[in-house]
């Protein structure tokens, strides 16, 4: 198949939505949600309003997406489908052309395998490969096989022809749950195994589906991936720490903490930091982009501390109830009083200091008195002058008696 045929087959997003009978209003709402999920950092949402985003996207050719499962729980697929408004899942599946997805496709066995290979052939170099789950490497990959091939081989084949790879979820990003502890299967993330193809990590357990859609649509519209951070996470969704936008932040700043699950503070919706919330450590947009398009549907919103699932080395590595470290300190909601200076010395301290000084002065006075009296005593009774050696016989008569005698 040539490029022309491929384009004919996929069509633009606008054509597909008209064919599926999806109202423009629904699509506009979707575009609005996308703008909220990715307010900065994406070219497709850098527009004045949802209508402009829609006009831009409707002209775009639908992206071909191949979705592979590895060691996963299918939670990331579920998050894509569990959007609260019934129309949105349909909408999503009409925006992207999902060529292969084991959970969603009706075919199985030989049919499914054929579909995978024809999609890889037809859209070679163009398709977006979405990986869900970690890839086991121990024992030549015997822990995961599909169509007789180990996961590593499957990934290498699919990655070689992919335009871009999206690692969906924490497992595909850096191993996730299967890599926890001793990592018995040698579970790895996609970016640990594949080099030379642009890779985007969308960690989360599960990640927000709008992050996936934003990344995919940006790729097909502009041909480039959004700006990434050190862990290959797109900055438009992972540039902020949950703590910075947390709705419970005022409780943190005022020192109102839930001390244990079910206590008064917990029931009043106070800060979960002391229950082990990893919000201060975790880069994700959860605190502003809740799940299922419903307000407060996210862990902290329902009173469960954040486990840090989007952060490498935190979720599944750091104990859930261990306290996170705060990185960006800001002032609390309390104020220092005017006078915080030296204060006044305690009475007992003053007394002690007086006692010490007084005894020192007394000792010095006594010593001085004694010294003086010893000096006076020495003056009153001078020591005998040293006797000069005198000839024998004259020793008895001193100078003074002699003089007396002379004077007499």
């Amino acid at each position: 198949m040539g490029n022309h045929d491929e384009h004919q087959k996929l069509g633009t997003i606008g054509e597909q939505l008209r064919r599926a009978g999806i109202p423009r209003r629904d699509f506009l709402k979707f575009c609005g949600e996308l703008m909220i999920a990715a307010p900065v950092g994406l070219a497709i949402t850098r527009k004045a309003w949802a209508g402009e985003v829609a006009a831009d996207l409707l002209k775009t050719t639908r992206p071909a997406v191949i979705w592979l499962h590895f060691q996963d729980c299918t939670g990331c697929t579920e998050t894509l489908l569990r959007t609260s408004k019934p129309g949105v899942a349909d909408l999503i599946l009409n925006i992207i052309s999902l060529e292969y997805h084991e959970t969603l496709m009706p075919g199985s066995g030989k049919q499914a395998e054929e579909q995978l290979h024809s999609a890889m052939r037809n859209y070679a170099g163009k398709y977006v490969l979405v990986c869900e789950g970690s890839i086991p490497t121990k024992g030549d990959g015997i822990y995961f096989k599909m169509g007789g091939k180990p996961g590593t081989q499957l990934l290498e084949e699919a990655a070689a022809k992919a335009g871009a790879i999206i690692a969906m979820g924490s497992c595909a990003s850096w191993g996730g749950v299967p890599s926890a502890g001793d990592n018995p299967t040698g579970a790895n993330g996609v970016s640990d195994l594949i080099k030379g193809v642009p890779i985007v990590n969308l960690p989360g357990c599960p990640p927000n589906p709008y992050n996936l859609l934003g990344t995919v649509l940006e790729f097909v519209r502009t041909g480039t991936l959004p700006e990434l951070d050190n862990n290959l996470r797109p900055k438009f969704a992972y540039d902020r720490v949950i703590h910075e936008h947390c709705p419970r932040r005022p409780h943190f700043d005022s020192g109102r903490f839930a001390q244990q699950f079910g206590d008064d503070g917990h029931r009043h919706g106070w800060c979960l930091y002391k229950l082990g919330c990893k919000g201060p450590d975790t880069h994700a947009g959860c605190s502003v982009r809740h799940f299922n398009e419903m307000p407060d549907v996210w862990p902290i919103g329902i009173g469960a501390p954040c486990v840090g699932c989007t952060e490498k080395g935190i979720a599944f590595n750091v104990p859930i109830f261990e306290r996170a470290s705060v990185h960006n300190f800001t002032p609390p909601a309390t104020y220092p009083p005017i006078a915080t200076g030296a204060g006044h010395p305690a009475h007992i301290a003053t007394g002690l200091a007086g006692l010490i000084v007084g005894s020192a002065v007394g000792a010095a006075w006594t010593a001085a008195q004694r010294f003086q009296s010893s000096q006076e005593g020495a003056a009153a009774h001078p020591p005998d002058p040293p006797k000069e050696p005198v000839p024998a016989g004259t020793a008895e008569s001193g100078d003074a008696p002699k003089q007396n005698g002379e004077g007499a």
Binding site: V326, P331, P337, G341
Partner: protein, 306 residues
């Protein structure tokens, strides 16, 4: 050489006249801010206590947050080696009525700075154009006289550091050099603290006082004359004393005493004089001691032992 009575009288007259003249000159001379002196005007009645200025100050000056009292927050108790700018809260004592008030504390950038007067090596100096009082690490010997001299208790010593610094507000002088205003005035969402030339801000402050008489304490701008005037000006509804700003009279400024000191130390005359007196005393004592020893020797016939 001998002095006649006439000469002596002449000298006395000249000396008395010169002393009277210098005294008159001193009484008139008042510290004057440079023409283009920069200033801040903080209006405590506008401040909402958001502490944006505290954070902006720490960021602009590269100060790490003070978490010593509260390990989760940047919560300094007072100005310290981590904090050049702080918002404090005045609450009326129990049983006392009156409004609450925030107060922003930082270096006042005195027109006649006490710290610079106390500094033996001119490590603290006042800029001749902007009037900003800044600290020079190359000249500082770490004596901390500035801490003792400052009536506003502003310069802080970095006790924990090996190579300690004096930490105080320097009016974001790097930002001023780039043509920006200080971080705290830039970030203030209520414009409770504003930046400008001192004469213009003084005029603005008086205008505010005139517009709503009785709103501000004493209908007065703190810093206009206090301690010879400061380049940080305050307006407040509660008394400045309660906000921790000391009661200083207009002529309590260091150059009054400093001028005497300079005069006395001119040409090193006073130290040389004192040295001469001490040497004279010593000589006198030695002479007396020698005489005493000779007398002893004559009396007892013993050789002097000391």
């Amino acid at each position: 050489m001998s002095l006649s009575r006439r000469q002596l009288l002449k000298m006395g007259v000249v000396g008395g006249a010169s002393a009277a003249l210098t005294g008159a000159a001193m009484a008139e001379e008042k510290p004057v801010a440079p023409r283009d002196a920069v200033a801040m005007l903080y209006d405590a009645t506008l401040c909402v206590g958001c502490k944006s200025c505290v954070v902006a100050c720490a960021n602009a000056n590269g100060l790490s947050p003070d978490t010593r009292l509260d390990p989760l927050h940047q919560a300094p108790a007072d100005l310290n080696s981590f904090t050049k700018n702080i918002i404090k809260l005045y609450t009326p004592a129990p049983g006392e009525s009156g409004p609450y008030s925030f107060v922003k504390r930082q270096c006042m950038h005195c027109v006649d700075p006490f710290c610079a007067a106390a500094c033996p090596f001119h490590a603290l100096s006042k800029d001749k154009v902007t009037g900003v009082v800044s600290w020079d690490s190359d000249k500082c010997i770490g004596c901390r006289y500035c801490q003792l001299a400052c009536p506003f208790e502003t310069p802080k010593f970095d006790w924990d550091a090996f190579n300690a610094k004096i930490i105080k507000c320097e009016f974001c002088k790097e930002r001023l050099a780039r043509g920006q205003e200080p971080a705290c005035t830039y970030v203030c969402p209520k414009k409770a603290v504003i930046y400008g030339r001192r004469d213009l801000l003084l005029r603005e402050a008086h205008h505010r006082v005139e517009k709503s008489p009785g709103k501000y304490f004493d209908n007065r701008v703190y810093g206009e004359v206090e301690g010879g005037g400061t380049q940080v000006l305050y307006l407040s509804a509660v008394s400045f004393d309660k906000l921790g700003l000391p009661n200083l009279s207009a002529d309590e400024h260091p150059s009054r005493w400093l001028r005497w000191q300079e005069r006395v130390m001119k040409g090193f005359i006073l130290p040389i004089g004192i040295y001469g007196v001490i040497v004279g005393f010593l000589k006198q004592n030695f002479r007396e001691h020698d005489d005493e020893m000779n007398d002893e020797h004559k009396k007892t016939g013993l050789l002097p032992q000391i």
